[in-house]
């Protein structure tokens, strides 16, 4: 009964490849996020979807493309992977009540290593 799950947990790949990370939440939340944690543990927002609509798109290379097939899923596809993409990617979700934002629940993370 995991609340926010991500697959895969680890991803090792070569430069130039294309890869996807999947996220699912079973909390009934309507808003999902992708965050990137770099090697210095700094966390930064990348994208957010509310009811399948993109609402946050930070300054992220367009090689990164999020997709939300439904409210419970948010996937991240990365094209032409670069060494600098190596990081831990966290998915998170929350429910927005009439403009009030509650705490976000985070997935376990996907550690991406680009060789």
């Amino acid at each position: 009964d995991t609340a926010v799950s991500q697959t895969p947990k680890y991803l090792v790949t070569q430069m130039g490849n294309d890869k996807s990370i999947k996220c699912e939440q079973n909390l009934g939340h309507d808003t999902m996020y992708w965050y990137k944690q770099d090697s210095k543990k700094f966390l930064k927002i990348m994208f957010s979807y509310n009811n399948k609509e993109l609402i946050i798109n930070e300054t992220v290379p367009n090689r990164f493309s999020p997709k939300s097939p439904d409210k419970a899923h948010l996937n991240l596809h990365i094209n032409s992977l670069e060494l600098g993409d190596s990081a831990v990617y966290f998915c998170a979700s929350t429910r927005i009540y009439g403009g009030t934002y509650n705490e976000q629940f985070f997935g376990p993370g996907t550690r991406l290593t680009v060789l």
Binding site: K41, L43, S48, F90, E103, G109
Partner: protein, 113 residues
């Protein structure tokens, strides 16, 4: 621009002693503030939040935080530290528009027996 600062990269405390992890913020409008903890190779776990109301907020695992508007601070505290509290702690503020969290750089808490 909204921002969060955690001035200490590392805090060392002896088990049983009180602990404080510092956080200051800069926001326009009312601040929505959060503390999260990250154990090694794990995701972030929510500890507590300040939205409105009492300045002293109680959260999970015996942690509490004090909101101080005049000092724009939201320090995390615990009266008696446990070795198991050793982890990376993040302070965050909710930014306007979309509900994204802006995180501080994190503070590594080390509690020694």
């Amino acid at each position: 621009a909204q921002s969060v600062a955690q001035p200490e990269d590392q805090v060392n405390v002896a088990e049983g002693n009180p602990l404080t992890v510092k956080c200051t913020y800069s926001v326009s409008g009312n601040p929505y503030l959060f503390w999260y903890v990250q154990y090694p190779n794990r995701g972030l776990q929510f500890l507590l939040k300040y939205i409105t109301g009492d300045n002293l907020v109680k959260g999970s695992y015996g942690f509490e935080a004090e909101f101080n508007k005049s000092q724009t601070s939201f320090h995390l505290k615990k009266p008696s530290a446990l070795v198991s509290d050793s982890a990376l702690y993040f302070c965050a503020v909710r930014a306007a528009g979309g509900g994204k969290l802006i995180f501080g750089q994190g503070t590594e808490l080390s509690v020694k027996p």
